[in-house]
Symmetry: C2
Subunit: 197 residues, 2 copies
């Protein structure tokens, strides 16, 4: 918990009467500079690494983990975990923003979607990342300004916000958008809207 | 694909007229001797290692991966993957029987359930195991003889079938029951009822 200089002053005064430091020490909230965004799905998990910089943040890498329809489900899951593990090893993010509750058509879809999330989360958690869920509506609201925005619109805005040469693949763009949303919500004084999981 | 001796004979006759071997070569289906059963769930994943032996199969190890309610979801998933990885390393199973489609109350439950399955499957798939889904009803039918059997009944039957000193923990018993069901269905000539995933 960060305390304000005024609170610190009061605290100091209460315990003993002494010179009050001009600059009160603060306990800064951990600022994450390198963020991993993940948009999990069995056949096409999007991922992206975002570095927070001024005036413009930078995408270090982004891509989609494609698993052909002929692959068994378990093989896809192992692939997702493996690629994300490699990406984390290479770029050392300290926080992960993953797509939160998604509207699934039915139980079976939700189970498969959950499996892809599980595989992604294993890699992120084993690497010690702090993990936050960002709801897709929140992400679209933050990036495009409209909670029901299309994937294309998100991709175009991500390209513009990160000054990318090309429009990224839609799943990779979603992953970068999740990282951007986390960065935005986390930089404000209010508590983050992303839910830690 | 295994071919019958008759098919083999026909094939031989078609290509060239020669002596027909008395014993047609067969391509034997791979026989798994060490089976890992998994009953995945976020807070209590059951696992068990079964060794197929005559006249009675043997449980090498079984247990439940307990994750306290205070743990973040991602921490539970990492724990599930870690424990299963260790179990696989120690006992070298070649096949995994995992609980198949489960009736989830709602989408949220299915997503969380899916995450636990995903974490489990990553460990099994990365270790190169063949993975099969066994439907809970099939398992209960095979073990207790009644598709809607209670967990207690499954645990008691597992204890009896494997000659265990004590009744195993319900989740661990379910995992062993899945492995037993896989072993039973796979030993018959008919194709296995478990679905490879």
């Amino acid at each position: 918990m960060a305390i304000t200089s005024r609170q610190f002053e009061q605290l100091q005064n209460r315990t003993r009467r002494s010179a009050v430091p001009v600059l009160a020490p603060t306990i800064p909230a951990r600022r994450h500079q390198v963020i991993l965004g993940i948009d999990p799905s069995l056949r096409g998990t999007g991922f992206g690494i975002l570095v927070i910089e001024k005036p413009i943040s930078r995408a270090l890498v982004c891509g989609t983990i494609r698993c052909p329809a002929t692959w068994e489900r378990s093989r896809c899951l192992a692939r997702i975990a493996e690629v994300l593990r490699d990406v984390i090893r290479q770029h050392s993010p300290t926080v992960c923003a993953i797509e939160g509750l998604y509207f699934a058509q039915n139980i079976q879809t939700a189970l498969i979607m959950g499996e892809a999330r599980g595989a992604s989360l294993v890699s992120a958690a084993e690497a010690g990342l702090e993990i936050y869920e960002v709801a897709p509506r929140k992400m679209k609201q933050a990036i495009v300004g409209y909670g029901a925005a299309q994937k294309d619109a998100v991709a175009k805005m991500v390209q513009r916000m990160l000054n990318l040469a090309e429009i990224p693949d839609p799943d990779a763009a979603d992953a970068l958008a999740l990282a951007l949303t986390y960065a935005q919500t986390n930089s404000s004084i209010q508590t983050t809207s992303a839910r830690r999981i």
